[in-house]
Assembly symmetry: D3
Homo-oligomer: 251 residues x 6
């Protein structure tokens, strides 16, 4: 029995409010248990210096905590002359890579889609909630580009879904909340596409190295969770009138 | 007839969702027409260096735009080595001063209440919407301190309510939306307390200096608007079980 | 009787040393009681990015305290990796807006005039002293542009004059010195043009909200003071061979 | 046949010059093919704020590229007001976590060991080369603390060894050089301890998601490589008179 | 015949307005030809971290250009997130070292004297003018400390006087103005004490290396100039009622 | 007898490992007693803004300490939002000026050569060791440009060699090590060309002003030392197949 009464392989309550925000080319307020993230997609024409003239687009992300996302107020990260923390940069890079893995950047053309992920409440799993919500916001933005005829062809290669897993007191648990995450032996995050293939796999055993078999078990658990999350993303998008089928690039 | 169909002295639709956020000692999502601001109060024991040992508390604010608060994505202000813009600092200072004017800082004791005002959507009047929402969040936080017996005596001296007014094509208009603000001859912001007294008055006639009588007319218009806003704040707080009467310091 | 022996509606001793500095397109050392500010105008061809191609010029300001402007040395504001304080930015923005309100930016053409206001001694009223001195330096710079034939037509729309007023122990006082400013109930600053119209009005009642009538009285007091300051500015400019009449745009 | 003539499961030439630097509590110049990293351990008494009074030590790392580590000079990362790049921070955090996983921080006591990893030449695999060299430098520093009687008991829990693997044109290759890394379908880095358990596993498939089986194959390949690297680390330490046996904590 | 009509070994017109500024523990507006520097001494109790508990004081300096010290406006150095330029730091360090060389820091006690040198007009020789003016401001500050009985014994060991010299078209010239400095083969700056001993000697021959004899000639020329400057400093201080004799430490 | 057994006019052991680093257009690991500096030349086409269109090149330097160059770890200078220390900037500027003095920048053409000087071990004399090593790396880079036919004519005007001298307990000593430098009465650094002419002369007598004769004696001592250093530089370059004769510009 887990701290919040879930089974070992059970996800927390998950919801996506698509179009929560008025401004933006796609937005989604994702709730995963006590974690809440506002994900907003913005499309800008043009790409950054290092990509110019290559005939391709870019997808990038920013990830930031609201100062009162947790039980105590924290100074705003990366703000007022301070560098953005390594943790926030790492997560922003993870989100960006995960989404680029499912977009045909050539088909996107010379535009940049930025996914702003603002963590409103933090109760564990903020990075994977951000991937999931940003994925939904991105799909909305692509749908709207497609509706405007701005894309030469569909450019979605898949759907990215992320989830954490960890070993707590010897038990493999899916989708850790903060209290579990805090005491877990290994912190593992998986991002998969909707075909069950791996996009990102990050496992860290700072407190104590783990046998490979245990890690393999956690990966299996997470992949199952990711498949369920994909269904929730698909349903939320459909509810908002966005059909994944129409967005998908031909194989 | 105004761009959005309002009368000259009519406020935009105004709502306060008290307790919108789980974490925080008081929170409020304020909507004023198309403008949306998330206001969150955090209480911390202790005060900054310059106040230590004076037996008084402090109320301060941060004001920040979501990068996609408007029609185009902007870089995050004050972020990643950039200084916070003068505009954002000015507004944060205005919010802090307005709220300190209605709090008995001695009765608050050596604690700091920080009001984080994050503008989610910007359609004009973000600074006064922030004052109004932060006022509500502050009242919730004070109510909860009082309920815990942490205050020696009630410390609310009044309620701060702010609104803008401006001259557009010779007409004095209340509570400008972005399209009006953009073309107004004078940009005037008033913060008043619930007794109709002035806390802040800022008028700026960059495009063309204004006769004093015209300014006086705008102030009158704004003071009437502030009185209406106060009623909405009071009602929202009551709806959330916070009675202003119980919070008020004895005269 | 005020702390320095003045009547309630009396300005402090005021002088403008026009051309105090050799380098610069216009300069003025303004003394207002114990406050001393060096104001220097610099004309540069071209405008910043956001104005390019609009066929108009820009007037902007920087405001900075000498580290020993007061009784104790302070670290240089905005220096060595620190952000410029919100207060300094606010004042710089006020000076810029005040001067732009009296310049026909189209007639100025695509050039930028920067007014550097360095506070040498601070004894209250540094922001309005800066407006007044910067106005004089700006007029000298415009005069010299006009003499060179660089302006298609006169571009001065008026003269900006600023002064503070405040309520001390119930008495409305003009042009507060530091000791008065420190204990005033309301801090009010007015910038007017020489036709008595308002350019900027900023009133702040942090310690205790003020009835509107009291504020109105302070505005009236300040407007009278501004008219006297205008005479001093005019006289100083004439003494330096600059005739306001010749600089003024046709109505 | 690989670009540099190696077999698919063959490591690049690997050497550790222990004690390359005079100053430092342990140092090692690690060469792995064309990649060269100077790793230096510094022991300081005391720990950072967040750990004080917990009776434990800390191991941390900095990772930085020499401006001419590659074919063209780059500006120094994190230097002269710029934030340290997300990539450098990510790698520094990875090195720190990897080493903390093999140190009994309680036995270390309230001291901080910093591992400075300066990449002199970059030809792929700089993060794992840094882990490997930093591990050697750390062991030397621990050995010297132990010799001084500064440790209550041995505190080494294992040896961290890292290596990359990737899929290039469908082939699973070990220890990618820059030219391979550049075109690989997946970039996978493993850090294992000398018992073959996983400390860190990072896999990223930005260009194209990968079936789980393929990832599993890369992990197996990398674990074999890590075992070989451990032997080289052990031999280098022995050559420098440091016996791992003496440093190891009792199980 | 020099560009400004001087003889080769002739100083520019030199004046020290002692007490030019009201606030400050000593101040001096030094004019040397077209160069004008405001030098202000501030005494603070206590010393920086690295000196605490050593029973000695410190003398330090800041050197900064007014943005319009020259013919064109420059951005403020070291301001708004930019690092202070290497040149400004170098000069501030030179001023600090020069003054510390003539102060008995033990006798000064645990206080810090900061010399703010703000260059108002720059026409060559700003660093030596700053040394000379700061020396005068420092003497006034020491005199006032002594008058208050705050010093256990006199602490002035000598008087620092600085001047430049250079080779222009083969001629050794003293005290270069900007137009000469710009074309000089060698830029040499000397700071000497009033006994003719060297405190600082900096010679730089970027454009073309110089024979030692030529350098020796310039040093001789500069030492003569420094002796004359010392007389002007002494006279200015006496005019302000400060007797060097009374300030001098016993030999 | 000196602390390390040398005669007063004896240099420390000096060696130049030319080509120590693989990447770079010229590199050299210079060892001077316990001081070790890695000097790397990088050639980039183009020059910075301020030189564009003048048909000349530029030579510049960066100087940085490894955090563990000394007996205790120091935070990385200029790193992570901190400004580069004044000392490091001063030294980088000295190296740059010294090398520009011996290069015909017109003949170099519109390219920039950057010399990165990373101090690996610091035992006194790091600035002059950097000049000496950077000179060697620069010569290698010029030789390689010449071999490629990229230079219209030879552009080396001389060889820069630097060394320190100082007065310790009344004795004039050459090439101070850290323990001597620490207690020296004067810190003097000379950079000369191979014709014995002075490029840079910096003498600082912070602790106690020095008679000119004593300074002259130190300069003589240093010039002799520089001549010996030149021979070592020439020999090291010849050993690496670089003939100074071929690089030299016609007189």
């Amino acid at each position: 029995m887990r701290v919040d009464g879930r089974r070992a392989d059970e996800l927390r309550g998950l919801s996506f409010e698509v179009g929560w925000k008025t401004q933006g080319d796609g937005s989604c307020l994702v709730r995963s248990g006590g974690t809440v993230v506002l994900c907003v997609a913005s499309v800008d024409e043009g790409v950054r210096e290092f990509l110019r003239g290559r005939g391709q687009g870019w997808v990038t992300a920013e990830y930031l905590m609201h100062p009162r996302a947790g039980a105590r107020r924290q100074s705003r990260d990366g703000f007022n002359g301070r560098s953005l923390s390594g943790r926030s940069q790492e997560i922003a890079r993870l989100i960006g890579r995960s989404l680029r893995a499912v977009v045909d950047l050539k088909a996107l053309g010379e535009r940049t889609i930025t996914l702003d992920c603002d963590v409103i409440e933090a109760d564990g799993g903020t990075r994977t909630a951000s991937v999931n919500g940003a994925m939904v916001a991105l799909a909305v933005a692509l749908s709207s580009l497609q509706a405007k005829g701005a894309l030469p062809r569909p450019c979605l290669l898949g759907v990215a879904s992320g989830v954490s897993a960890g070993l707590v007191d010897g038990a493999a648990l899916l989708d850790l909340c903060y209290r579990e995450d805090h005491v877990a032996d290994m912190d593992l995050n998986v991002v998969a596409d909707d075909a069950g293939r791996l996009i990102e796999l990050q496992a860290s055993a700072e407190s104590s190295p783990l046998a490979r078999e245990a890690v393999d078990g956690l990966v299996s658990l997470a992949l199952k969770g990711a498949a369920t999350i994909f269904e929730a993303q698909r349903a939320a998008l459909e509810g908002a009138g966005v059909s994944l089928g129409a967005l998908r690039a031909a194989p």
